[in-house]
């Protein structure tokens, strides 16, 4: 039965090592404290060597729209601060993030480029997936405060923005996962809009409705089954 293990706030600059310690704390303070090496295995389970690729389904809830937007495709973490998101349905789009820049190409149209600072959502997405797929908490330290909850059946990592600039755009990024697998990435914008991105097995399973309610989808992310 999952119970709150410990909220760990990582504020230190010696990033990677502290991240390891933090994950170790999450694990060691909990029900599995008796099993040495779980923290390592949890981390090892999450951390992968780039390039890492996973299918995804993103459901966006926007104030100007009367129903959610659903897109699906492939997410790739190419290592470092480079990632790529290919949308296959319902249209084709390739978004690349790297070297502080976001470039978006829809279909075979022009490539639009913009600095990442102007697209905080893209930055948040990169941050979330770096943490998830790379187990690389280090890069997040400057922009986010990290906290973690849960056990192996369901765990949650919350990224709260630290800088005023990010806070103007973003409330939080929440990552739900089970055991070695991340399942959902929920981004809540400052204007109340939000998006839930299903990854891995959750994405493969797909949606049960063409326009899922936000609450229902959130519950599915938390569901430990």
């Amino acid at each position: 039965m999952p119970r709150t293990l410990r909220s760990s706030r990582i504020c230190n600059r010696r990033i990677l090592r502290d991240a390891l310690i933090a994950f170790a704390l999450i694990a060691s303070c909990g029900a599995f404290a008796a099993e040495p090496g779980l923290a390592e295995s949890l981390l090892a389970g999450i951390a992968k060597t780039p390039p890492v690729s996973t299918p995804f389904v993103q459901v966006s809830y926007r104030g100007v729209l009367d129903r959610p937007l659903v897109v699906s495709g492939t997410l790739q973490w190419l290592g470092g601060d480079r990632m790529q998101r290919d949308i296959d349905k319902p249209f084709k789009e390739t978004a690349k993030i790297g070297e502080g820049e976001l470039s978006v190409q829809r279909g075979s149209g022009d490539v639009h480029r913009m600095p990442l600072a102007r697209a905080p959502q893209a930055g948040a997405m990169l941050a979330g997936f770096r943490a998830l797929l790379g187990g690389d908490v280090s890069a997040l330290q400057q922009d986010f405060t990290l906290s973690a909850q849960g056990g192996s059946a369901h765990w949650v990592i919350t990224l709260a923005p630290r800088t005023t600039q990010l806070k103007r755009q973003l409330v939080s990024i929440v990552i739900d996962g089970r055991a070695h697998e991340p399942r959902c990435l929920t981004v809540t914008d400052a204007n109340g809009d939000s998006s839930i991105t299903l990854v891995g097995a959750m994405a493969e399973a797909g949606l049960r409705s063409t326009a899922p309610l936000e609450s229902a989808l959130a519950a599915r992310c938390r569901n430990s089954q």
Binding site: Q58, S60, R62, G63, V64, L65, D66, R67, L69, V71, R85, I87, F91, E93, A95, I97, E99, G100, E101, L102, V104, R106, H112, M114, P115, L116, A117, R118, A119, P120, Q121, A122, M125, Q142, T163, Q165, Q169, D189, N191, D193, S195
Partner: protein, 775 residues
């Protein structure tokens, strides 16, 4: 005359100088506008160039880099500095990347449908709107959604964003923490001063306030602020030049005083010899105040240098005094020669008056007036305050031996001719450019700072400073229309890699005709509502969400076209203001270019527009300007040389004696040129001024050595006087030759070399029978 009377006259004289000096100082404005020292523009391009140099946008930009602290501190400092300077009147604009372009464009939001090119190719009908809204749906799931969303309801076709993107510099530094950062991790800002770039006074004030604001920011002490750009260089150049001139001035003054003590064994020459020179200087300034009302700082500095010749007059008097003879008697004997020298040098300096350059004309008035006054003072006032001689300088130990040595040096007659021929060959065939046309070669700014400027310029994407595209039309509207017409050709030039990028005035503000045409295409509220209704079918947008869009389009239908004056008041307006300028009774558009690879490719553009558009090579224009300038000065100098020959010939009553004076002068000038050329130094205006000064000094030496006195002791006094004069000139200019400031070094080296050659040749080419007493 009694000692008391002499002292009293000395005091009265000094008081007069002080009084006139004080009066002049109150009325004479010292200007620092470099354009006083640039020849008048002849061609339209040169005129434009001068305007650009003075007021152009490029010259008013200060590039700022903050380093030496953690990134977040640097970003905070950048924001703090931007905030502080935006309230400062000295600055028109301060950018650090933090100003969101979309925010800037919102100022012109009501006009977006007239400014954006969308309506040239499309109409706001159901089909176009549907395609746009479909894209917006897709945008909403893109990682950039949060950037677009605030605009969506008012501006579903994203005109604001299109405008912001078209106005954004082609290349921007990367943004970290919302502000610009260089690849080396410095926070970057660009500050545009209101003052012209080449107004060092105003630039210095702006820079001082900038530095003060930076220093008062929290945490500024741990970071470094680096400033670059033309304004900074101007201020730095005058600061280092003045600092070095002051330092060397102090050294040479001490050296000069010691030398006078050594030469005359008395303190009297020190307190007395300065008076004629000072009198000349204050009268020179008074003339400037009367004739011009102002004087340029460079005129003052150069003027004092050229006036230095006058220091010789009282020194000669002191060397030639004899025991038991009234000073006035000695002065009377010297006067014909001194007068010849003064008139000849004044003729030479007249050349600067003929140059037609305001600064040089001031220089001519100052030096000629000053020399004449110094000469007159030496002739009529100086004898009143100089005490009778107690020592004959002819008796100076070693002087007779030196004379004997100089008199018996071998003087083969063919040597001067050989030296002259060899010299001409060296001057003509030495490798390297003869003339220095590149003004920037004279800058005292260290290479490292120039390289840093180039790096910051590249990182900030500042446009090419060498080329500009110039568009001529009778009205500003005409310029904008012309600019619109050539835009397609410019895009073709980019496609052909003739140029990497461009920015035209019409890129910011379309012509009124174009704006009216676009406005005519805007649908009325009912049409737009109906089209929207149809367009939204099958899309997930909430009903009525685009009401602000409908209202904005309706408002735009009633707007008069945006005028350049209105646009220039907006936050991005400064860009247009710098690209659209009135010149004479017409208007000029300036297109900025980056990376010009093939300047010849622009010829076709000139041809198709009937010459209304052409490429301006700023470097080429400056060089042609400098060349024309030098040409005038050379002609003036040539005429002056001719007049000098005539004057000397008349004064010495015959060409044979004149040759003994003019021969060494010419050959010495040639030898200075030989040394400069052999060292690979290209000649600039400053070398020409210095050669003229050296020739003026050389004229003195030659005139006095040529003099037939028939008195061995008088010859020794001449040698004494000349040695003192040569030593003082070598001291002053030799020290200057060690300067790190190119202009000071050019002057110092040229004059010091000139003095050495003029003296040597005056001795060697003087009629040997005089020197050896074979009269």
């Amino acid at each position: 005359m009694m000692r008391g009377a002499r002292v009293a006259i000395w005091f009265v004289w000094l008081a007069l100088i002080a009084a006139v000096g004080w009066g002049v100082a109150r009325h004479l404005q010292i200007s620092s506008d470099l354009r006083d020292f640039v020849p008048p523009a002849r061609t339209a391009d040169q005129k434009l160039l001068l305007d650009e140099i003075g007021k152009g946008p490029g010259s008013r930009l200060l590039l700022l880099a903050i380093s030496g602290a953690p990134q977040d501190r640097l970003a905070a400092l950048s924001r703090g500095l931007q905030d502080a300077l935006s309230h400062e009147r000295a600055f028109a604009q301060v950018a650090n990347g933090g100003n969101d372009l979309a925010e800037i464009a919102s100022d012109l939001l009501p006009y977006r449908y007239l400014l954006s090119s969308t309506l040239d190719a499309h109409r706001f009908d159901a089909a176009y709107l549907h395609a746009q809204l479909q894209q917006r749906v897709e945008d909403l799931s893109s990682p950039a959604a949060s950037m677009l969303e605030p605009w969506l309801k008012r501006d579903p076709t994203l005109e604001t964003l299109k405008l912001a993107q078209s106005w954004a510099p082609a290349r921007q530094p990367k943004l970290v923490d919302g502000v610009w950062f260089s690849d080396r991790g410095e926070a970057l800002l660009v500050a545009e001063t209101r003052a012209a770039g080449f107004d060092p006074g105003a630039q210095a004030a702006a820079i001082a306030s900038l530095q003060k604001h930076f220093a008062s920011l929290p945490g500024a002490a741990q970071a470094q602020l680096v400033i670059s750009g033309p304004g900074w260089f101007g201020v730095e150049a005058s600061r280092t030049t003045r600092a070095e001139a002051d330092r060397f001035g102090a050294i040479t003054t001490i050296g000069f005083v010691l030398m006078l003590l050594l030469a005359y064994r008395s303190a009297v020459p020190i307190v007395v010899t300065a008076l004629p020179l000072l009198s000349g200087a204050v009268v020179g300034f008074a003339l400037l105040a009367l004739i011009f009302g102002h004087a340029h700082g460079i005129t003052v500095a150069f003027g004092f240098t050229l006036l230095g010749v006058a220091q010789e007059y009282p020194l000669r008097v002191f060397s030639h005094r004899r025991i038991g003879i009234e000073t006035s008697q000695c002065v009377r004997e010297l006067w014909p020669l001194l007068a010849t020298a003064i008139v000849s040098v004044c003729i030479a300096y007249l050349a600067f008056f003929a140059s037609g350059v305001a600064g040089l004309q001031q220089l001519a008035v100052f030096t000629i007036g000053g020399l004449v006054v110094a000469g007159v003072c030496t002739r009529w006032l100086l004898p009143l305050i100089v005490p009778p001689a107690t020592r004959d300088m002819a008796a100076t130990p070693g002087l007779a031996r030196a004379w004997h040595f100089l008199a018996h040096l071998p003087r083969p007659r063919w040597v001067p001719w050989l030296v002259a021929v060899a010299g001409v060959l060296v001057v003509a065939f030495a490798p390297g450019k003869f003339w220095q046309n590149d003004l920037s070669a004279l800058t005292p700014i260290p290479k490292a700072e120039l390289q840093r400027d180039a790096r910051l310029r590249a990182e900030l994407g500042a446009p090419d400073v060498r080329y500009l595209l110039v568009l001529h039309a009778p009205t500003s509207e005409g310029v904008l229309a012309l600019s619109e017409r050539i835009a397609p050709q410019m895009r073709q030039l980019v496609a052909n890699h003739a140029v990497d990028g461009f920015e035209l005035p019409s890129g910011f503000l379309p012509s009124a005709a174009t704006q009216i045409a676009r406005r005519a295409k805007l649908p009325d509220a009912a049409q737009l509502q109906a089209a929207l209704q149809q367009a939204m079918e099958g899309l997930p947008f909430r009903a009525g969400v685009f009401a602000p869009f409908v209202a904005d389009v309706e408002a735009a239908r009633k707007l008069p076209p945006l005028t350049p004056e209105q646009f220039e008041r907006s936050p991005v307006g400064a860009r247009l203001a710098s690209m659209l300028v009135q010149q004479g009774d017409g208007w000029v558009g300036l297109g900025t270019l980056s990376g010009v690879n093939d300047s010849a490719a622009f010829d076709a553009l000139t041809k198709t527009t009937g010459g209304a558009v052409h490429l301006l090579d700023l470097k080429g224009s400056t060089e042609s300007l400098v060349e024309a300038y030098r040409h005038r000065i050379l002609i003036a100098l040539g005429i002056a040389a001719l007049l000098l020959c005539i004057a000397v010939t008349l004064a010495l009553r015959g060409p044979r004696r004149a040759l003994h004076v003019l021969g060494p002068m010419t050959l010495a000038t040639l030898l200075v040129l030989v040394v400069l050329r052999a060292c690979g130094i290209s000649l600039s205006l400053f070398h020409l001024v210095s050669l003229t000064l050296a020739a003026g000094l050389g004229l003195h030496y030659a005139l006095f050595f040529e003099r037939r006195t028939g008195d061995e002791r008088e010859d020794l006094r001449t040698l004494h006087a000349t040695l003192v004069c040569v030593a003082s000139a070598l001291l002053v200019f030799g020290v200057l030759a060690l300067s790190s400031v190119p202009v000071l070094r050019a002057i110092g080296l040229t004059v010091a070399l000139g003095v050495a050659f003029h003296f040597t040749l005056s001795v060697l080419m003087a009629p040997a029978e005089h020197l050896r007493g074979e009269r």
